[in-house]
Symmetry: C2
Subunit: 277 residues, 2 copies
């Protein structure tokens, strides 16, 4: 696995995630008013160089540079969550030759206050409302703890921070296995990605929805994902009907019920599986 | 325009071309039996590193390495034509800061027999039936002329070779202006790409169709593209109906009527326009 291959896998993970028709998210032909599928293509193209150099730059700098490049090409915050998840996985793969629980933990434990400062700058640039407001650390101020530690403070309300706090537990124990299982069972990429996404959404409420629409809405969406999976998901005709209905139910003009964090977690899972195979 | 930006533009050109619903070609949800949209995503991800280094490697080597990387990620010949077109444009942009007729001509005129050898190796690897058989130069043997000269020998039967022979005349005078006009008129990327594609197809018979289905079929397809554009193309309801009918007419199990070279020329046009803006 060369540096070029790791970067290509990171970009392809973004592209496969964006291209699959995940209920409640953007995909080809299913745009939001203020966000189109093409923005995700531009974002994936933009992060090539930052991901290529992720092994030789501090983690926080990689994240900030990827966010700046995305803004230049896509014009908006498209992939902040994905970049936050991919950057440590890519760095782990480049440093250890493998992206697994052990190598990612090593990357996370070596993070510094400088990494946290760079990530805060990236979040402010992307301006997605931060990782939620906390009393002790707020991205409007400057952090005084290492990146992994400020992420731990946000872990209970943000699914991406939780991955940092747990050594990417959800990615390694739920997301990547779901992608791998679907692919080994012969599902095309589109279906495999949707199945992994529904599996992740059924496993835990989406924190992006919780922040925008409240905890109760996030719980309801997860219960509905569980019902869709119980109906067979992409593997049955009834499940496919349920997926279409789920998608319509999640679409509202303000994207309140957009499972955005689950989509980010899906991209991380695809990356891990692409490297494994 | 940094090296990273030029490479990102090359990848994004591939992605925007593949994602637009061009009649007779693969796009999201419109797969061929043996070629899926996801293969084009993988191919676009694969060429990041070769395009990044296109300014410091000989042109032929860039083309061969991009073809090898594509084969590793996409498993088949997906983007040989696009790589042949993008590589000199990318090299021109990296060497001169701009991809225009003058800078591309400089790149082409400095090509060597070694470049030709590398390109022959790339064509053999991708195995698309070569650039058509010629008496004097055949990719099964080894070339004894510079790359630009062997391309001149194939220019009458191959639209990509013709770009090498003419200093990318079609790209600069038809393709890129069509993309730019469509975007300035406010068309979304999907529509802009389809309009540029139809404009190119209406301007000259597709040589990929001519090789596979004969010159007469290629002429008929171009006449039909002219009729679709006369009906307004993507800009009118009648034109959109005509585009859908055109797409159905071009789809057959063997892809005999697949305007593949026109799709490649469209990607080159998008790249030039992305760099210009």
């Amino acid at each position: 696995m060369t540096v070029a291959d790791v970067a290509a896998a990171a970009q392809l993970a973004c592209l496969l995630e964006a291209s699959a028709p995940k209920p409640g998210n953007v995909s080809p032909g299913r745009h939001f008013d203020d966000l189109r599928y093409e923005d995700f293509l531009a974002a994936a193209a933009a992060i090539g160089e930052p991901m290529t150099a992720a092994g030789v730059r501090p983690l926080g700098m990689t994240i900030r540079l990827a966010t700046e490049a995305t803004r230049r090409w896509a014009g908006s915050n498209v992939n902040l969550g994905i970049v936050l998840l991919l950057a440590p996985l890519v760095r782990a793969a480049l440093q250890s030759g493998v992206a697994d629980a052990r190598s990612v933990r090593a990357v996370l434990e070596e993070t510094t206050v400088d990494d946290a400062r760079e990530v805060y700058a990236a979040i402010r640039l992307a301006a997605p409302g931060g990782l939620g407001r906390a009393e002790s650390q707020d991205v409007a101020s400057e952090p005084d703890q290492a990146l992994v530690d400020v992420m731990r403070l946000a872990a209970d309300r943000d699914g991406i921070a939780r991955e940092y706090a747990t050594g990417f537990d959800t990615t390694f124990t739920i997301g990547a296995p779901a992608v791998g299982r679907a692919r080994r069972d012969g599902l095309e990429w589109n279906d495999a990605v949707v199945e992994a996404y529904l599996t992740l959404l059924a496993a835990a409420p989406d924190t992006h929805i919780a922040r925008r629409g409240g905890v109760q809405l996030a719980d309801e969406v997860t219960q509905r994902a569980q019902a869709v999976m119980a109906a067979g998901g992409v593997r049955s005709a009834a499940g496919r009907v349920a997926i279409d209905e789920f998608d319509r139910a999640l679409r509202d003009p303000k994207h309140t019920a957009n499972p955005g964090t689950t989509a980010d977690l899906t991209a991380a899972a695809i990356f891990v599986e692409l490297l494994r195979t």
